[in-house]
């Protein structure tokens, strides 16, 4: 899932500024599951902004709505009127949600209420960890299902640096050394010899380094008459 964290209230207030009619839009997918931007968080944020604006002596009209998925226009269109009536939208979606609103409603000013942090999973109650860097050329088949791009602090491809100690990364004792995990897993599966192969420099053109990415699936594209119907 996409994991995000709410921005500090002060920062959101700063972004909202003097706007009179404020709409907080939550998202019912990833950010709901990571307790950052779902219906509940949208309600709490709206109420915090209302109270805070009253305390600051310029009460704002703050309402909230949550859609199933902010990252698809078809879910945003039904609340289009609410969005267009607002002076400002605070999106509690990930960065994709914020941009989906900006793109679909060019007249409306939208600001982010979250910091989109990473692609990861909950590893225990209240803890989320990064797992994927979306590099566009998956290497997990070479590393026993543990990603060194996302999980090694230096994204090394040929084994651990000298900073691996007792399973931890030298940058932080709370961070696992990805290469220790890879080593242990390949060892337990009898596949250590896979680590002996020299991995060549990675082709980063499939990642963000190659510029903004787009996938076009012609087999799924609608023919022109279908799109205009």
């Amino acid at each position: 899932m996409i994991v995000a964290e709410q921005k500090p209230l002060e920062e959101i207030k700063e972004l909202v500024g003097e706007a009179q009619k404020v709409l907080v839009v939550g998202c019912g997918t990833c950010v709901t599951v990571c307790f950052a931007g779902g219906d509940r968080e949208a309600q709490i944020l709206a109420s915090s902004l209302r109270m805070s604006s009253k305390l600051d002596d310029h009460p704002q009209d703050v309402t909230d709505l949550t859609v199933q998925r902010q990252c698809e226009w078809e879910y945003l269109d039904p609340i289009g009127e609410d969005i267009q009536k607002s002076d400002i939208v605070v999106s509690l979606g990930c960065g994709i949600g914020v941009q989906a609103i900006a793109e679909r409603f060019p007249e409306t000013w939208v600001v982010p209420g979250l910091n989109t942090t990473f692609l990861g999973l909950p590893t225990e109650q209240g803890v989320w960890s990064e797992r994927c860097a979306a590099c566009g050329d998956c290497l997990l088949g070479l590393t026993g299902g543990i990603c060194p791009i996302a999980r090694c602090s230096k994204s090394l491809l040929n084994g651990p640096c000298g900073g691996s100690e007792e399973g931890h990364c030298e940058i932080d004792p709370d961070t696992d050394c990805a290469w220790q995990l890879i080593y242990d897993r390949l060892d337990s599966l009898g596949k250590l010899e896979m680590l002996m192969k020299l991995q060549p420099p990675k082709n980063w053109s499939t990642s963000r380094d190659g510029g903004p990415r787009k996938i076009i699936r012609e087999d799924l594209q609608l023919a022109e008459e279908e799109t205009t119907n």
């Binding site: 084994g159 651990p160 640096c161 000298g162």
Partner: protein, 339 residues
Amino acid sequence: MTEEAQKTLVGSNLEHVLQNGTFAVTGELGPPQSADGNVIREKLNLLKSYVDAVNITDNQTAIVRMSSIGAGTILVEEGMEPVIQMTCRDRNRLAIQSDLLGAYALGMRNVLCLSGDHQDFGNHPTAKNVFDIDSIQMVKMVADMRDKGLFQCGDEFKGQKPCFLIGAAAAPFADPIKFRPYRLGKKVNAGADFIQTQLVYDIEAFEEYMDKVRELGLHEQTSILAGVGPLKSPGMARYMKKNVPGILVPDKIIDRMSEAGKPWSDIKKEDRTKEDKKARSQAWRKEGIQICVDLIKELQKIEGVAGVHIMAIEWEEAVKPIVEGAGLHPRPEMKTPVL
């Protein structure tokens, strides 16, 4: 000309020393956090004629310093041989290759390929890192430039190739410890001509590592220089043991350091004068140098150890007594590369 013969044409002093089978001594010099070239010249005078080549660190511990190649140019001018340290943290494959072309043109002939300390440790922790390639891929890239005349992308060189003696680092005691000799093997297979290890204080643990290295035959394919460094105090020894990954400091070494300062440590803290503290610090440093000398003598006995790499950063004065104490002075006459 065979590929093997081509590999010996780097022409550096370090290569010459290693090929002659002389027990090599390299030193280390940390450039200043300023643009003052005289700092390099002063430090250099403390190392000259005591080491065969001098590593110039590359923004070590991720703190901005004068560039390795910039400082290396001063060494070349002064008739000393640099080992350019090059990290993957600050440069992508374009910048590494380009910098090495420049370094070669300026007379540098040795490079040490490193992944580099994470920027989180240094004075610009909010920086973006690069890590386009890793240290092993860098070794291979530099070897391919020299041996195959190819840029990393596969394009052929049209003019002079950069021919470097290629070094890599090894951390014999870092985790997963069983993988360490094999990781060394990967570096050797990628083309590392010489290896400089992390600081060795635990001879027994290093002997075990070298047993495995010899079993894999790696000592015959590369020159292994064991890392050594003088301790300044028992506190420094304890700090390294506890906080620096991949460094083992046996208690007997910490005890030797403590013992050396005992006459002054025994004085009650409130009665200890400035002079006492100074005398204790001197006694510690003297013992630190002696421990280093003793370690080198032990390392010389280990089959497959081709030399030592003395890391006395910010204490370059220690190199002379260490090299003399270990009976490694005078050094072979400096052979300067033909430019």
